[in-house]
Structures are given as structure tokens and as C-alpha cells.
């Protein structure tokens, strides 16, 4: 219970605190949530389900091992965001701290709720804080780009709302367990339509290929903290929804119908994002398209709905959070110190900031899926799964490795090496250093021992019936 409500309470406290203490409070609050969830995980048996009930009719909570993994990821992401932004102006703002903690509450709710309507409500609850964070702290000169993001997400959300209502009416169930046993295949085409509603919402959020146009612009203009929150955890809601809710519930006719369309879109995104990333000059835009590429792969592999692949997908989800925090932090550091993100104006940073160069390199390698990092485990097995589905999908998926190397190495090399084009560059602050170190250790640990995560998660993933 406290696990779920703690961020909300802390968010309210943040409003009331004097501004001077905000910076420290954000860090302590997120650390507190993280510590609490770690303790809770230690006392948690993976086969258990923690039930939490506040007496609401449509919202109940049940935490299983997948939920715990995501809570841990969420709390860790928020802690790292607060820590990494410790020196920037944004954490001085009371509004940011409170909104971020509110968003944390929404995310934890998404990952723990046990009812389909609860899932929708928390899904939407995260919109309010991110909207305000983006608007207040981002650099949206015209509200258009921001509105585009919200047009898309709200359109997707409303499709999902219809699907939620339809699903609840059709099955007369609202809990996860109830929906699992409900026979949706009997609904025939209706179940395909309902799943389509969910998939549309997810496709906007992940994002999948034709619905991604909000992404690059939003990422680029958002504050670094906002970009990190968006890509590291908020987009994971969609993958989580796919993994936990939609695929097990719609297993059968509907999934068979949507499998190849979604895999195609995911793989188009893989190639498309990577190709666009190759020539981007803005380092944040580049990473945004890289994100499109990486997440397309996860979404495509998830649609195979294979028990082993789903476990690996969780590893890759965690890995992508690690990578996106690291890379966007690096981009943010460059932007903060040099006021530019254009990699053609950058060069020779490695000479003046060797520590930054080293840690950025580590994260680049993680993102390149070098063996012994989580990225290797994740991408390798996802591509392998796609190969076993069809040789062509496997082939297209594996282009991510080659193209990924091209754009990531460019993104690393151009600013860090080459002729020195920059005046001065302060090396990493201790807070940033700790973030990079934690991320690298986590990525390497997961790369060496992914079993600890996959075994934990496997308990709550449903075995496919076929």
C-alpha cells in the first residue's frame, strides 16, 4: 500500500515545502521510494500476488513479480533522474519535483493495478504531469508541437477507453484474472476490434512507425529530465500493457490477426528510425530516432507472444531504460555545458573531459549491444526469436545492429573526438558520475546474469496455452 501511495504523498509534501529545500527533497523522496521498493522486493516471493484495495469499485491493485520489476524500474528511473539533474536548474523548481513525483505515482499505478479501468485511469494520470513538465520546462516556441503530442496520445487513449468499455461489457469482467479466463475468441471480430483499440493507444505511445511523428520533436524540445522520463519509463507503459494485459487476454483470434501488422510496423520502425538517425545533426533527435528503432524491435518481438521471448523482452525493456537515461543524460550534459546539440559544432570533448568520454563510451557500447551487456542479451534473443518466426523478419531486425553501430558511433565520435571545436567543458559532476556508474553496472550485471531477472519475471508471465 505504501509502495503505491508513497509518491503521491511525497508529491503533496513537495508542493508545501519551501522552494529552497526542493532540490534535496526530490532526491531524498525518490531515494526513499526506491529504498522502499527494494525492501519490499526482498520480502516478496515471486509466486505471490500482493493485493491492495482502497475500497474503490473500479480500481484495485495486485502486485506480481512483473509489476514489482516495473515498480523497481520506475523508482530507480526517478531516482536517477533526480540525481542526474541535481546540478541543473530544473530540480530547484518545486513544480517539477511535485509533478515528477505525481507522475511516479501514476506510473506505479499503471504497473500495479489489477483492473482494466484502473489501468486506463493511471495511464491517463501520467499525462497531466508530463504535459506541465514539457510545457513549463521545455522549449516549445509554438504550442503546436506540444499539442501534437497530446492530440496523438489523447486520440490513442480514447480508442483505448472505448476498447476498455467494450471489453468490460463483452466479458462482464474487470479484473486481470477475470479477463484472463474470459473466452474472447467467442467474440470473433469484436475481440479483434477491441484489441485494435488497445493497440492503437500503445502504437502511439511506444511509438510505432506511422504514429511516431510526435516523438522526435517532443524529445528534442523537452527538458532533459522530461526526455529521460518519457523515454525511460513512460513509453514502457505501452510495452508493459502489451505484455501484461493485451497479449494474454486477447490470446487467440485477435492476436493472430494483429500479429503481422504490428510486427511489420515495428520492423519498419527499426529500419526507418535507424536510417533517419544516421544523418541527424541534433544529438537528441538522433537518440529519439534511435529509440524508435529500439522500441520497434521490442514491440515486434512481443507480438510473437512467446513465453521465452517475453522474458527477454523485459530484459530489453530494462536495458532500454538504462540506455535512454544514459544517452539523454549525455546529450543533456553536452547541451547544458555548451548550449548546443548540433554534433557538427562539437568535437574533441574527450580531451578535456576524459571521465565523461569514458562513461559515455560505456553507455554507447551498451546501446550497441556489445556482448556482456544487457543490450546484447536483449537484442540477440529478440532477433533470434524474430528469425525463428520468419527469416525475413529476422534479417530486417538484425539490420538494427549494423545501422545502430553506424549512427551510435557517429553520435559518439563526432562530439568526443576529432578537432577540438569547443572552448571549455567541465567534466562530470559527482552526481552525474554516480548515475553513469549505476547505469553501467546495471547494464553489465544484467548482461552477465540475465537469469536473475528473467526467472523472477517468468513467475507472472502467463504460459501460452497453445
Amino acid at each position: 500500500m505504501a509502495l503505491i501511495l508513497l509518491p503521491l504523498v511525497l508529491s503533496l509534501v513537495a508542493w508545501l515545502l519551501p522552494s529552497a529545500q526542493t532540490r534535496l527533497f526530490g532526491l531524498i523522496a525518490s531515494a526513499l521510494s526506491l529504498a522502499w521498493s527494494i525492501v519490499a522486493v526482498c520480502y516478496f516471493k515471486p509466486t505471490d500476488h500482493l493485493l491492495v484495495d482502497f475500497g474503490l469499485r473500479f480500481i484495485r491493485f495486485s502486485i506480481d513479480s512483473l509489476g514489482f520489476t516495473m515498480i523497481l524500474l520506475t523508482n530507480a528511473v526517478f531516482f536517477l533522474v533526480f540525481l542526474s539533474q541535481f546540478t541543473s536548474n530544473i530540480t530547484q523548481e518545486k513544480r517539477f519535483t511535485a509533478l515528477a513525483l505525481l507522475m511516479q505515482f501514476g506510473l506505479v499505478g499503471v504497473f500495479t493495478t489489477n483492473t482494466i479501468l484502473g489501468f486506463y485511469i493511471f495511464w491517463e494520470l501520467t499525462l497531466l504531469p508530463i504535459f506541465l513538465i514539457l510545457y513549463w520546462f521545455g522549449s516549445f516556441e509554438k504550442p503546436r508541437a506540444l499539442l501534437q503530442f497530446f492530440l496523438y496520445t489523447i486520440l490513442g487513449s480514447l480508442a483505448m477507453l472505448l476498447a476498455v468499455i467494450g471489453l468490460m461489457h463483452a466479458t462482464n469482467q474487470q479484473t486481470y484474472e477475470g479477463l484472463l479466463v474470459a473466452d474472447l475468441n467467442a467474440l470473433g471480430n469484436t475481440s479483434t476490434l477491441l484489441m485494435g483499440g488497445f493497440l492503437f493507444a500503445f502504437a502511439v505511445k511506444i511509438p510505432l512507425f506511422p504514429f511516431h511523428t510526435w516523438q522526435a520533436e517532443t524529445y528534442t524540445k523537452a527538458p532533459t529530465a522530461g526526455t529521460m522520463l518519457l523515454s525511460a519509463i513512460m513509453l514502457k507503459m505501452a510495452l508493459f500493457g502489451l505484455l501484461k494485459w493485451v497479449l494474454p487476454i486477447f490470446d487467440g483470434v485477435a492476436t493472430d490477426f494483429w500479429r503481422w501488422p504490428i510486427i511489420s510496423l515495428g520492423l519498419i520502425g527499426v529500419v526507418y528510425g535507424a536510417i533517419i538517425a544516421i544523418r541527424q545533426r541534433d544529438i537528441k533527435t538522433l537518440f529519439a530516432y534511435a529509440s524508435l528503432s529500439h522500441l520497434g524491435l521490442i514491440a515486434a518481438a512481443l507480438m510473437l507472444n512467446d513465453f521465452d521471448t517475453n522474458q527477454i523482452a523485459v530484459v530489453q525493456i530494462v536495458n532500454h531504460s538504462i540506455v535512454s537515461i544514459g544517452l539523454f543524460l549525455a546529450a543533456g550534459i553536452i547541451e547544458l555545458r555548451l548550449q548546443t546539440r548540433n554534433i557538427e559544432e562539437l568535437g574533441g570533448i574527450a580531451k578535456v573531459a576524459p571521465r565523461f568520454a569514458f562513461w559515455f563510451a560505456v553507455l554507447t557500447f551498451v546501446s550497441l549491444s556489445v556482448p556482456f551487456t544487457a543490450g546484447f542479451i536483449g537484442e540477440f534473443f529478440l532477433i533470434k526469436a524474430l528469425f525463428s518466426a520468419h527469416a525475413l523478419t529476422g534479417f530486417i531486425a538484425s539490420t538494427t545492429l549494423v545501422l545502430g553501430a553506424v549512427y551510435m558511433l557517429r553520435a559518439y565520435q563526432a562530439p568526443m573526438f576529432g578537432p577540438t571545436k569547443i572552448a571549455a567543458f567541465a567534466d562530470l559532476h559527482w552526481s552525474e558520475l554516480i548515475v553513469f556508474a549505476i547505469l553501467s553496472v546495471a547494464a553489465i550485471y544484467l548482461g552477465l546474469a540475465p537469469q536473475c531477472l528473467t526467472d523472477f519475471v517468468a513467475q507472472s508471465l502467463t504460459q501460452p496455452t497453445h
Binding site: 503546436r144 526507418y272 533517419i276
Partner: protein, 296 residues
């Protein structure tokens, strides 16, 4: 190791990379010379050095699966041997061609450079022995293969073939013969005859093509890099921004701009309001008539 060696040479030559200006460095840079020689021999596949065994393994596998591949590999191996020995002899033997001024400055590299070279040379000599293809050390044969296949990463799927003794020996002898033959040819050509690298203008067509790296870099640039960059630019600018993003904007705008049309309905005149109310009422009655005709 060869890279390190050439690095050492270049360092000793004061950042001079053109082999036409080198020659006779063996006396000045003995350690570099010796290790480079071993490296060259290893990569060319002179028997009992590491390159010999690894290459032989690959070629044995190739022959087993596809003779054409084997043929190509033989050609490649021969080429490798030729250019490596040419490089070696031109650099370390014959006369120094870099002029007196430079010659006086040329020196052997420091220990920090030569030590790794020596370690690597030692590994080149003995490394190959670790993996003798079942001829000499039957028990430890292919232990490296086994080490790799222990991994979970699906490498065990690469099945190993064991060729019979005669074929294996035949292949090894053939490969050795090529390598040694090239060694002798190169020695005769570059040391005895004193042939040096020609100036650019004196190159024959074939040699010219080779000097320009067979235009492979350019070909790569033309076939892969340029289209990829063009595609990237196209995808980013045209597809992503102009078609997809602006398409979304255009849809949104066209919906919202209908407001210009709809707001005209609200004229501000009471008479028009009353007119439209009557119109609405007539619509209701029309709806009734329509509905009845549908029902009946």
C-alpha cells in the same frame, strides 16, 4: 601485431608512411624487423605458425562444404602472402630510399612498443600449436572449439567436420607450398633483383587499379554509403517531416479550420436564429416522415 609493427616503423621513421621511402630498416630496427617478419610469416600461412593453422582450419571446412569457396580462399591467401612479403622486403631489406637526412634520424622504438610486439610474436609462433587439427595432439584437439560451444549462444550449431588424415595433410602441404613459394618469389624479386616500388606514373593498369585499392572504397561509398546517406536524408526530411508530420498537422488544421466555416452560422441576428429554429423543427418533422417511410 602487424599494425603495431608498422606503427613502430612509422614511429621510427618519424611519421613517414610511404614504403617507397623505406628499405633496409632491418639493421636499424632489429626487434621490429624480427617480430614483423614473424607476423608476416604467420599471416601468410608459413607452416607451424598460428596463421597457418587457423587458415588451414577454415580452408578445410570450406573444401568440405564448397570447393568454389575453397578456390577463392586459396586465391585470397596467395594474394595476402604476396602483398605481405612485398611489404616486408621493401621495408626492411635493400637500400634505404628516404634520403640521408632522414636516415640519420631513424631509430628503434622504445621498449613500450617493442615489448608487446615480442609477446605477440611469441603468441604467433606457439598459438597455432594449441589447435592442431587432430594430427599431433589428439586429446586437446579443438578444445577451443569446445570452449566456444559451451556458450549458450547457439554456436554449437556450427558443426565441425573432421577430414581424414590424407586430405588434411594434402591441404596443409598445398597451403604451405603456396606460402613458401611466395616467400621465395618475393625474396628473389625484391632483394636479389632489388626491385623497388614504382612511382605512381610508372604503374601498369593492373598495378594502378591495385594502388587505388581496386576502387573498393569508392565502390563502397557509391553502393552503400551514399545511398544510405541519401536515403537517410530523404527519410528524415521528406518522409518524416514533410509527409508524415506535416500530414498530421494538415489533418488537424483542416479539421480545426472548419471553425472558420462553422462560426459563420452564428450570425448574431435574431431573425436568422428564429429562422434556423424553424428549420430545425422542420428537420424534426422530416425525420419523422423519413423514419416512417423506412419502417413501412
Amino acid at each position: 601485431m602487424l599494425f603495431l609493427g608498422s606503427g613502430s616503423v612509422i614511429h621510427g621513421m618519424h611519421e613517414e608512411q610511404d614504403i617507397r621511402k623505406m628499405g633496409g630498416l632491418a639493421k636499424i630496427m632489429p626487434i621490429t624487423h624480427f617480430t614483423f617478419f614473424i607476423g608476416t610469416m604467420a599471416i601468410s600461412g608459413i607452416p607451424f605458425l598460428s596463421g597457418f593453422f587457423s587458415k588451414d582450419e577454415i580452408m578445410a571446412q570450406a573444401l568440405h562444404h564448397n570447393p568454389v569457396v575453397y578456390g577463392v580462399l586459396v586465391l585470397a591467401v596467395t594474394m595476402t602472402a604476396i602483398y605481405m612479403f612485398r611489404l616486408y622486403f621493401l621495408t626492411f631489406h635493400g637500400q634505404f630510399r628516404g634520403g640521408e637526412a632522414l636516415k640519420s634520424k631513424v631509430h628503434e622504438s622504445g621498449l613500450s612498443m617493442t615489448l608487446p610486439l615480442m609477446v605477440l610474436a611469441a603468441l604467433s609462433i606457439f598459438g597455432g600449436l594449441l589447435n592442431l587439427p587432430g594430427l599431433f595432439f589428439k586429446n586437446v584437439a579443438h578444445w577451443f572449439d569446445h570452449y566456444l560451444s559451451h556458450g549458450t549462444f547457439g554456436l554449437s550449431a556450427v558443426h565441425n567436420v573432421h577430414l581424414d588424415f590424407n586430405t588434411a595433410m594434402g591441404l596443409m602441404i598445398f597451403a604451405s607450398a603456396i606460402a613458401i613459394g611466395v616467400l621465395i618469389w618475393a625474396y628473389l624479386n625484391y632483394v636479389k633483383k632489388g626491385a623497388t616500388a614504382k612511382e605512381d606514373s610508372a604503374l601498369s593498369t593492373w598495378e594502378n587499379l591495385s594502388a587505388q585499392k581496386l576502387y573498393v572504397d569508392e565502390l563502397y561509398h557509391l553502393v552503400f554509403v551514399k545511398p544510405l546517406l541519401a536515403l537517410s536524408g530523404f527519410a528524415a526530411q521528406v518522409l518524416d517531416i514533410q509527409i508524415l508530420r506535416n500530414g498530421v498537422y494538415a489533418i488537424a488544421d483542416s479539421i480545426l479550420n472548419t471553425a472558420n466555416l462553422t462560426r459563420k452560422w452564428q450570425t448574431g441576428f435574431l431573425s436568422s436564429y428564429l429562422f434556423w429554429m424553424v428549420f430545425g423543427l422542420i428537420t424534426f418533422v422530416a425525420y419523422y416522415i423519413l423514419k416512417l417511410s423506412v419502417w413501412h
